[in-house]
């Protein structure tokens, strides 16, 4: 069971490249690696605590209103993250803009709460949240690295390409996000087939 959680979350059922969930933050905030890391951490935090509460309440919540309950719980943790960033990391909060509150509607979180946390015991739910969050995290960072290197010639703000390199502006724009995401999904599919 534990092995399967790891394999699914990080690779075979990867939230971005396999399930194609959470596309809004994936495409919108991955202009720089720092943004990708911040968004990844925020999602891991929300996913972890939402799974915790949902798993604990799984026998209490009536079936008909479970989605409403999950949404309230998720929204609470997202708002906590939003307030925390505004108070302690105003720069990151500004860079991520409206995409922090939008974590509420990130399907990865609601999806994991519904598909996993509400059906499994606490320890497994927490592990699943961390692994899925980790999968989302590496997906974001990979996407953001490609876009930052090609779009600005930097990584985490440090210049790594020679000044003669002409940044591809399309990479920091929305079309760049789609192009890189498509390419990465194609690579993942190809690797899968080779196996």
């Amino acid at each position: 069971m534990i092995g399967r959680i790891f394999k699914e979350g990080l690779w075979t059922n990867h939230p971005i490249f396999r399930q194609l969930l959470g596309m809004c933050p994936t495409l919108a905030v991955t202009t720089t690696v720092l943004n990708g890391i911040s968004m990844g951490l925020a999602v891991i935090f929300v996913l972890f605590f939402s799974s915790l509460v949902v798993s604990l309440l799984r026998k209490v919540v009536p079936h008909q209103v479970r989605i409403a309950v999950y949404t309230i719980i998720i929204a609470t943790f997202v708002t906590i993250v939003d307030i925390f960033l505004k108070a302690n990391f105003p720069q990151i909060s500004k860079a991520l803009g409206p995409y922090v509150p939008l974590i509420i509607v990130n399907c990865i979180i609601l999806g994991r709460c519904e598909a996993f946390a509400s059906k499994n015991r606490l320890s497994l739910a927490l592990l699943d949240a961390l692994v899925m969050g980790g999968g989302f995290f590496w997906g974001l960072v990979t996407l953001a690295s490609v876009r930052e290197i090609l779009g600005q010639g930097t990584i985490l703000g440090y210049k790594i390409l020679p000044p003669s390199f002409n940044p591809l502006i399309v990479m920091v724009l929305p079309p760049g996000a789609f192009l890189v995401l498509g390419t990465l999904v194609a690579i993942m599919n190809r690797l899968e087939r080779i196996k």
Binding site: I72, I73, T76, K86, A87, N88, P98, L173
Partner: protein, 190 residues
Amino acid sequence: MKDSLKYNLRVIFVLTFISLICGFILSFVFNSAKAKIKENQKKDIYRAIYQIVDDCKNVEEKSINEETIYWLFNDKGELIGYAYLSQGQGYQGKIKILFAIDKSMERLLGIEIIENVETPGLGSRINEESFKSQFKNLKTNVPVECVKFFPQKKNQIQAITSATISSRAVVGILNKGIQNLKSLIEENDR
């Protein structure tokens, strides 16, 4: 029938209870962070003021009609100008601009972009020094204008290439802010 009533009551109870707890937690978190968030915003504004106006040594806040105006003083304690935060719609979202104007309100001392969500690499270049420095010493008796090539008049600036909408938005927000500030100061003097 009795069962379904019981079930419905349980639904109502669970939803109410969870919402209450969540609301309670949130109000607690927000209250503990409120002061810090306000302080961050204030810090941004003060940093911008000192960046624009070199010889400004002291800033006093004063609200007129519930709008905050920053009165700028030099090291001798003389009034050298005013600063004001103006905001409006940009290309993708709100832009907040802080600008400073001299005491006679005829000359712009400069602007700083406090907040923007313009396109990275294009519109967000309104935050670059080469764009912002154009606003230094502009005349303010006529509205500032945004031109695409080679500004010639004392009230013109050059738009950023391929970010005309963002550049125009900045100019529009600025002009609106100058008008607001002038009428607020007049009201205060009266």
